[in-house]
């Protein structure tokens, strides 16, 4: 019981730490660090009347909606095609669909600019052939498309999971009734995908509201401001930052995202209507699409190649050249200098080490916290177990920048000077990044824990084991594969993360993401590419390693 309370209180402190200072600041007429402020709603009034927030809000809505729609347009059909139909290389595509997830959108954005930007390699080629470039990357649709490519794996994973489990006989029944493949798709499959679609939409919306890199890279030069760049500019780069207005804006966005999570719950309330998974497993049967399958294969290939592969290859290429421009053959200026620069400066090497520490240690800690939360939420008879679940999922609604700002203030005001021990150390980053990775950890552990029948612990209890023994002797071993899965997921998430670090970092705690920003500001784009390549290599190595471990584990179980 004590343990349950401890878990809930711990989660509550963690989640509320960044929220409370943000709320407080939004009502204060001066920065938190200045004494003698008074409370009022002026900041909100100011936000809506003066600061040009209307346009920002409009852009944000447009960007979020377009991103979400594009994400679904990419992800849903692909999930259906990959999981439910016969296509050549289905297994390969199922894996390849996830690739963009392993690359941070900052890197993806750089890659896209190098390829499809106004002076990108692809754009210049197209310009030579057509005489004009039929797209404009520096626009809301351009931003949305890049972001959608980056986020599609999330929606894909959700939909594919649901499709994989759903009862294939629902489709067979339609077929026997006389329905062709298209009718089955629109009348049977899609309507039943509502839960994963709604769930991933909400996730994509809140992620596109808080994403900083793509809007900063694309939107800035053409003055398209969205919420995250508004926070960034008014918080970090402004001539006279107005922290009150910042707090107010953050509060609003927090409210919007929390609202979205509630809408999600509402939309799926009568969830029974979408239950397509029944007790007895049916053997999956894949539809044959005929000639359409080649169209699908082509579409998926385009997504994987154009969306992820080309920008990554471009990026790797960039990392080995001095200058990278369609105006000059990159082979002329091949060099290792970009890598040398990184390995010459202790601070840069340190940032790679820091990233590994933050992601490595963080992944372990977050997975453990997530496991505790799952155990309390799903495996205890504790009265408030639902609270644990909501708390663990809540950071999903918190933009990274807000987590950063909020924690920064929370540390500054933590009792007993606790904050000063943490502030500016790697622990601050681990807390900030970890908070953001917690929902993923929870989300990946919960289903697996639920899959393990309660009677396995009950059997242990009846044969004489107490709660702790039942966990250590029985459950711990069974959860291991799921735990490894959560480790991978949180590691990748935390390695990619950087937005809270903008506020929480210090000289000693640079991570790959912030170093990249620094190098970019200096104009050392080659080294940015080199660092990005290193990051991708680390991710690939880690995912591969975990895959091996997982395999090994499965073998001896």
């Amino acid at each position: 019981m004590l343990l349950f309370w401890a878990v809930i209180i711990f989660l509550a402190v963690l989640v509320l730490a960044p929220v409370v200072p943000t709320l407080y600041q939004s009502l204060l007429d001066r920065p938190l660090y200045e004494a003698g402020g008074t409370l009022s709603l002026d900041n909100y009034v100011k936000l809506f009347t003066e600061a040009g927030f209307g346009q920002v809000a409009l852009n944000t809505v447009l960007f979020a909606v377009m991103t979400t729609v594009l994400t679904l347009v990419i992800a849903v059909p692909m999930a259906v095609v990959v999981v439910r139909t016969k296509i050549p290389g289905g297994r390969f595509f199922a894996a390849a669909m996830q690739w963009p997830f392993f690359i941070s959108s900052l890197i993806l954005g750089f890659g896209w600019i190098a390829m499809y930007g106004p002076a990108g390699f692809v754009s210049v080629k197209v310009q030579q052939v057509l005489g004009f470039v039929p797209w404009n990357l520096y626009s809301i649709p351009g931003m949305a498309l890049t972001e959608a490519v980056a986020l599609a794996p999330i929606a894909y994973t959700f939909c594919a999971g649901a499709l994989r489990q759903s009862d294939a006989s629902l489709e067979s029944a339609a077929q026997v009734c006389g329905a062709g493949p298209l009718r089955i798709l629109f009348q049977v499959i899609l309507p039943m995908l509502r839960p994963p679609i709604v769930y991933s939409s909400i996730l994509v919306i809140s992620m596109s509201i808080e994403t900083l890199s793509v809007p900063l890279l694309y939107g800035q030069p053409v003055n398209i401001q969205v919420f995250s760049t508004f926070l960034f500019r008014n918080g970090l780069q402004s001539i006279n930052p107005d922290y009150g207005v910042l707090g107010a804006a953050s509060t609003i966005i927090l409210a919007v995202t929390v609202g979205l999570v509630f809408i999600q719950a509402k939309l799926l309330k009568d969830a029974q209507r979408f239950v397509s998974v029944r007790g007895k497993a049916t053997r999956p049967r894949r539809l044959d699409l005929g000639w359409l399958k080649w169209v699908s294969v082509a579409a998926i290939s385009i997504y994987v190649v154009m969306g992820a592969l080309v920008p990554i290859v471009g990026l790797i290429f960039r990392s080995f050249t001095f200058i990278f421009t369609p105006l000059q053959s990159p082979l002329q200026s091949l060099t290792m200098a970009n890598y040398q620069r990184i390995f010459n400066y202790a601070a840069y090497i340190q940032s790679i080490k820091n990233s590994l520490i933050v992601a490595g240690l963080g992944a372990v800690l977050v997975s453990l916290v997530a496991l505790l939360a799952v155990m309390v939420a799903r495996r205890s008879t504790f009265r408030y177990r639902r609270v644990a679940e909501y708390l663990a999922l809540a950071p999903q609604a918190m933009p990274g920048i807000i987590v950063g700002i909020g924690l920064f203030w929370a540390f500054a005001y933590a009792p007993f000077g606790l904050g000063s021990f943490i502030q500016g150390t790697l622990w601050a980053l681990i807390i900030g990044f970890g908070l953001r990775a917690l929902p993923s950890g929870f989300g990946s552990l919960a289903p697996s824990v639920m899959q393990i029948g309660q009677e396995l612990d009950n059997a242990a209890r009846v044969s004489g084991a107490d709660w702790i023994k039942a966990f250590t002797m029985i459950l711990a071993k069974l959860i291991t594969p799921a735990f490894l899965g959560a480790l991978v997921l949180t590691f990748v998430t935390m390695l990619k993360e950087y937005s809270p670090a903008v506020f929480l970092g210090s000289a000693d705690t640079n991570i790959i993401g912030t170093t990249m920003l620094e190098l970019w500001v200096q104009g050392n784009t080659g080294s940015v590419a080199a660092l990005a390549t290193i990051q991708i290599a680390i991710t690939a190595a880690f995912v591969g390693l975990a895959g091996l471990l997982l395999k090994g584990h499965n073998r001896d179980a």
């Binding site: 009950n458 209890r461 084991a465």
Partner: protein, 376 residues
Amino acid sequence: MPDVKVSNLNKIFGDNVVLDNVDFTIKDGEFFTLLGPSGCGKSTTLNCIAGLEQPSSGAISVGDTTFVDTDKKLFVPPEGRNLGMVFQSYALWPHKTIADNLAMPLQIRKVDKTEQRRLIDEALDKVGLLHLRERYPHQMSGGQQQRVALARALVYSPSVLLLDEPLSNLDAKLREQARAWLKRLQEDLGITTVYVTHDQDEALALSDRIAVMSNGYMIQVGTPTEIYETPATAEVAAFVGRCNFLEATVTDVTSTGAALKLEANGQQMTVDTPEKVTVGDHVTVAVRPEKLAVLPADDTAMPGTNVISAEVLTTSYLGSRFEYDLKVGDHVVQVVNDRGGLAGAVNLTVDPDACLIFPQADVLSEDAQALLTVAP
């Protein structure tokens, strides 16, 4: 082996009363079955005995040890009760070999290694699986897993054995054999056993006594014969064994029973019953299919039996016997007979003392009722 005494057990989830004053005593060495439809509270009762649920109020004791007594705020957790339990899904720990599965309760009890080995081998031998001790659960068939689960529950000599639908995951053919085997084993060991099932055949075949539950109540506790032959309510009659129900009105009360008019087709019949009825009462007549006989319409029936005219809807061959669906008014009546080949108009005969009467009750589910109604 001690008695199990459950007194005034109540369990409330939210505002859902799942157990309502359940009260029974199981005698030493008895095979006691909790029988009832899904959701009636059987597992909850069993879990209360095991300590996996805490009752809202009530007391449970085994022999002289009180496990739970809400008045005295006493609660012994499951690990302190020394019971053996087998779950519907067996709940074998998949990452441990069979021997390790059995070893775990012994390790917890700090039994020394050689003794552990002896006990494990003994328990596995009892269930005939000694040769598979090093296998993993997933390398065994369902029937074998079920026996391992039983061995694990027995290896540490628990005082009471609790079984929650242990056979329901076996396929139909194996289940019958496993049932007989389980009965032999329990008789050999003489261990007090509480058995949960919703399968009436299983309950009848296995038990010394049966408690029939419904909606958290215990409707009837008795031997299998008592339950089958003299069900306390129409509900028990419907749940245990197959039964035809016909609505009727009492037209006359005789010394041994009553004369009735069937609502289905208006015919008269007499029923011997100790039940007190008065003229004009609406009652439900319950007759088991095997107590009904079917004769061609032109045959004459034995005097003193009731004759009801009916029409054959379908004949089903059951291998050893035949089952008829007969139409009586708008009602379908099921009859099991040794004789096949009847068709068209027939006479249905039934002894007055083979009928039971109950106050009018809706005992069949809406679904079942729909399936048993035809155009008259």
